[in-house]
């Protein structure tokens, strides 16, 4: 392992920002609910990259960055399970998972 980080933290943060923006485009524009969920996973990963980068570049003495990243991964797993169960139920009822066609509550 290298003794010190060889590149500035900005490189990681730029990757993280771009990944978050890609996920945001997916959440805004995709019609399929599962595709929206995939985009949310991308955004959660962008946040994780940030947490780990700041953990490493602040010296690595405090472990909070990694603890937060593990919490995010836990929540992402729970969220994926619940969201996919809901999507399955919605599909049984409406025969579609396109979010712009599920407008039962529209006045």
């Amino acid at each position: 392992m290298t003794s010190a980080p060889l590149i500035p933290i900005h490189s990681y943060l730029v990757v993280s920002v771009l990944l978050f923006a890609i996920g945001l485009i997916g959440v805004f524009t995709r019609r399929n609910a599962i595709a929206v969920l995939l985009s949310i996973e991308l955004m959660l990963n962008a946040a994780n990259i940030n947490f780990v980068a700041f953990w490493r570049y602040s010296g690595g003495a405090q472990m909070e960055g990694q603890v937060f990243a593990i919490a995010i991964i836990t929540v992402a797993a729970a969220e994926a399970a619940i969201a996919l169960a809901i999507i399955l139920n919605v599909y049984r009822r409406f025969r579609t998972v396109n979010v712009d066609q599920i407008n039962l509550m529209k006045g």
Partner: protein, 177 residues
């Protein structure tokens, strides 16, 4: 510092930078394909190289346990779950006529504006380039952090996972006709 040591350092820096560039491309290009792919099954499969590259970035940053957890939970669990959901709802991934809604233009503009603002702020912000040496015994200290100051969050997370599992079973269960 002798010339040999300098050369060795530069060589190390080159390989570090090379690995970072490969992993960054491996995160962003599959990420873009996840969002843009017309076939939902391809979207879900493109998520795999993206998540593996994120795990590679974690390794590059020295978080070995987190990289392993990323591979196990995301690639082994979440992607498989999503593939099941795709096949249960969508058939075997035939392409939709229209995969994006009417907000395509505004969605792209909004996301690009956010990325532009954050990148602009980043370019003005200077953090010190890590002066710290590589942290030793990361996994052991992570275990201590999880089980002494954050033990409540740790236990709550296990309860959350249990409730999510039971809830997912109850929600997804076929209704008795």
């Amino acid at each position: 510092m002798t010339a040999a040591v300098t050369h060795q350092l530069q060589s190390g820096a080159f390989w570090y930078l090379f690995a970072f560039a490969c992993l960054a491309a491996g995160v962003l290009i599959p990420g873009l394909l996840v969002v843009l792919s017309r076939n939902l099954l391809h979207s879900a499969l493109w998520l795999l190289p993206c998540l593996v590259s994120v795990a590679g970035l974690f390794l590059l940053l020295g978080a070995e346990l987190l990289a392993a957890v990323q591979i196990l939970v995301y690639c082994g669990g979440i992607v498989v779950l999503i593939l099941f959901a795709v096949m249960l709802t969508h058939g075997l991934g035939h392409a939709d006529i229209r995969v994006v809604n009417q907000q395509l233009l505004w969605g792209v503009i909004g996301a690009a504006a956010l990325a532009g603002v954050v990148l602009h702020l980043l370019s003005r912000q200077m953090w010190p380039i890590g002066s710290a040496t590589a942290p030793a015994d990361v996994t052991g200290r992570l275990a201590e952090a999880l089980l002494s100051p954050y033990v409540l969050a740790f236990e709550v997370a296990s309860v959350v996972l249990l409730v999510a599992m039971v809830g997912a079973i109850v929600i997804a269960r076929a209704e008795p006709e």
